[in-house]
């Protein structure tokens, strides 16, 4: 880092910046080549699966929704797990993201049909999808910034209640009839561009999560964790509490907004009524089950959660007969009972979540496998 080039006369010359940059990039790639290989393999596997399996397979539903929820869960973890701010506004910020994306990407020719009760709406232009995704994040971030000014003075449960309240207000506000020309009131927004490949949410979520991880590992991230651990001590170290909380809240909401836009693309339609506080609770559950303060835990539990709720436990909802014997209890709604019990068990026995505050890293995996193999070879020897 602090490399100094000393020339023949013993004078210190400034290091060649380009050279150092190049070296650090090469070093980074060399150090993480296993990780990048695994990542490339993951994308290759998804690509191959898409060619092989039918596109209506449940696997793709889980992968798509899981990737989107992973992003939102990580963004919530940044706030709840790393900065210690217990906020429940995630669904509200997702809603802003989803609507911003939808409103600005519906093609002009489709507007008359979509805004049929509002004379085609008042927005007559469209922006490209990537820009709309960023706008979705920015709109959520801007709103979070304004909400944060008064709300972030609150602590713990009070903050949770206030943010929950704001999320509900947003939901009501977007359904307001007077805003119809922009938001289409309580009607659906549809016919905006969507993705078909599972790789799309993976790539967007992956980039966003990578940015969050970089933030967490920076000196800002350290300051966030210090605030989480002890506000008074953090303040005494010269960390500006208000500014850092505001930053964490805004960044978290930015990515919740992007996640909301992705969710809109996944669902192909958007309606404000769907962004209930129950959605926030689902994300909170993912964060808690994955481990508060673990990014990889949030990602892992997101896929597990979505897979359980959308796929693996579905059979509990349908009446099943073995011969003429009707299995008891299996009826519509039973899935939720079992699901709740599983969650209770997880929270009781793994109170720190699957990962605690640990992370899955390539190094840790390698260490784990080495240990495993060493144990095996020892076993064979004996």
């Amino acid at each position: 880092m602090n490399e100094k080039n000393i020339n023949i006369n013993g004078e210190i010359t400034p290091p060649d910046k380009k050279n150092i940059f190049f070296k650090s990039v090469v070093g980074f790639l060399r150090k993480n080549w296993i990780g990048f290989t695994l990542l490339a393999a993951l994308f290759a596997i998804i690509f191959i699966l898409e060619q092989v399996l039918s596109s209506s397979s449940m696997l793709f539903v889980v992968l798509k929704k899981g990737a989107i929820y992973a992003l939102v869960a990580v963004s919530m973890n940044l706030l709840n797990g790393f900065t210690g701010l217990f906020s429940l506004g995630q669904a509200g910020f997702m809603l802003i993201g989803a609507y911003t994306y939808a409103i600005f990407t519906i093609p002009a020719e489709a507007r008359t049909a979509v805004y049929q009760y509002f004379d085609g709406g008042i927005i007559n232009f469209t922006v490209p999808v990537p820009i709309a995704l960023i706008m979705a994040g920015l709109a959520a971030a801007l709103f979070a910034y304004l909400v944060g000014l008064p709300v972030l003075r609150l602590k713990s449960d009070y903050l949770a209640i206030a943010t929950l309240g704001f999320a509900e207000i947003i939901r009501a506000f977007f359904q307001w009839d007077k805003l119809g020309p922009v938001t289409n009131g309580s009607n659906l927004l549809r016919r905006f561009p969507v993705f078909s490949s599972t790789l799309y949410p993976f790539i967007v979520s992956g980039i966003c999560i990578a940015i969050i991880v970089l933030l967490i590992n920076s000196s800002y991230g350290r300051a966030f964790k210090a605030i989480r651990d002890d506000e008074v001590a953090a303040e005494a170290m010269g960390i500006n509490l208000a500014r850092h909380k505001q930053l964490s809240f805004t960044v978290s909401s930015f990515f919740a907004g992007v996640g909301g836009a992705l969710l809109a693309m996944y669902q192909t339609t958007v309606q404000a009524a769907a962004f209930k506080s129950a959605m926030t609770y689902e994300i909170l559950l993912i964060v808690v089950i994955g481990g508060i303060g673990s990014v990889t835990g949030s990602c892992l539990s997101s896929f597990l959660f979505i897979a359980s709720s959308e796929w693996w436990l579905r059979f509990l909802d349908s009446e099943t007969y073995i011969g003429s014997f009707k299995l008891p209890l299996l009826a519509s709604g039973f899935r939720k009972v079992v699901f709740s019990i599983i969650i209770m068990v997880v929270v009781l026995f793994y109170s720190r979540g699957i990962m605690g505050t640990n992370e899955i890293s390539v190094d840790a995996l390698l260490r784990f496998f080495r240990k495993l193999f060493r144990k095996d070879s020892k076993g064979e020897a004996a």
């Binding site: 350290r222 300051a223 964790k225 001590a233």
Partner: protein
């Protein structure tokens, strides 16, 4: 004069905790404020650190008025505080704790890390351990080390002996003297008056928000009133 407090009044929690105190801290000295619970020692320190705003009075640091300035400003003037009860960050590693201490600095901190590790070899062995898993004495070392990372000119310590074994307390006070020898001015508040006065150049006795006695550490140690009230002999 490094730090000059004149007629400082602070309201804290609805009561006037500090009722007009004046004292000075000369450069490169160890100054101690002693007094019972609720005498206003911690409030005084927190006010200097910028965590609490004073009602009236003046705080001057190196000739500049810093009354009512924010914590960030004060820390960047190289005044640092080791808070009461250590207050290390339990879920951060020892290294991260130390790096947080240098949060407002933009320059290279390698030298300072080495300096802290020289001072506390125990911390060097435990860089990757979480702060919360350290023993009480080690946590106090970490708190002092963290404060040193900001390259302080003035280090304020709030009851460094709190809840530590006598042997560990002696160790901590030796380190305080060592740090002082290297040019850091120290403002120490203590209930352990005996220990504090032994190392202090100047001592002040604080009672219910007022300074009632002052003198060199040795003078106060010999003072009958101090003996009766704080030394228990």
């Amino acid at each position: 004069m490094m730090l000059k407090i004149s007629d400082l009044k602070v309201n804290y929690g609805g009561i006037e905790a500090v009722k007009g105190i004046s004292f000075t801290v000369p450069e490169k000295s160890i100054v101690t404020l002693i007094g019972a619970n609720g005498a206003g020692k911690s409030t005084t320190l927190r006010t200097i650190a910028g965590l609490v705003k004073p009602q009236s009075g003046k705080i001057e640091f190196l000739g500049e008025d810093i009354t009512g300035k924010g914590v960030e400003d004060i820390v960047s003037r190289n005044i640092t505080m080791v808070p009461e009860g250590r207050k290390i960050f339990p879920d951060l590693t020892v290294l991260e704790n130390l790096k947080i201490g240098a949060y407002l600095r933009k320059d290279d901190i390698t030298d300072d890390l080495n300096y802290v590790f020289d001072l506390f070899p125990r911390l060097k062995e435990r860089t990757w351990q979480h702060g919360g898993t350290l023993s009480g004495g080690e946590q106090q070392m970490l708190a002092v080390g963290r404060a040193l990372m900001s390259r302080p000119k003035l280090m304020m310590m709030d009851e460094p002996s709190l809840g530590l074994a006598p042997l560990v307390v002696r160790n901590i006070f030796e380190i305080i003297q060592e740090i002082n020898k290297q040019g850091v001015t120290i403002l120490l508040i203590e209930q352990n008056a005996n220990m504090a006065l032994k190392v202090a150049d100047i001592g002040y006795v604080l009672e219910t928000g007022r300074i009632t006695l002052s003198g060199t550490g040795q003078e106060l140690l010999a003072n009958e009133g101090v003996k009766a009230a704080y030394l228990g002999t």
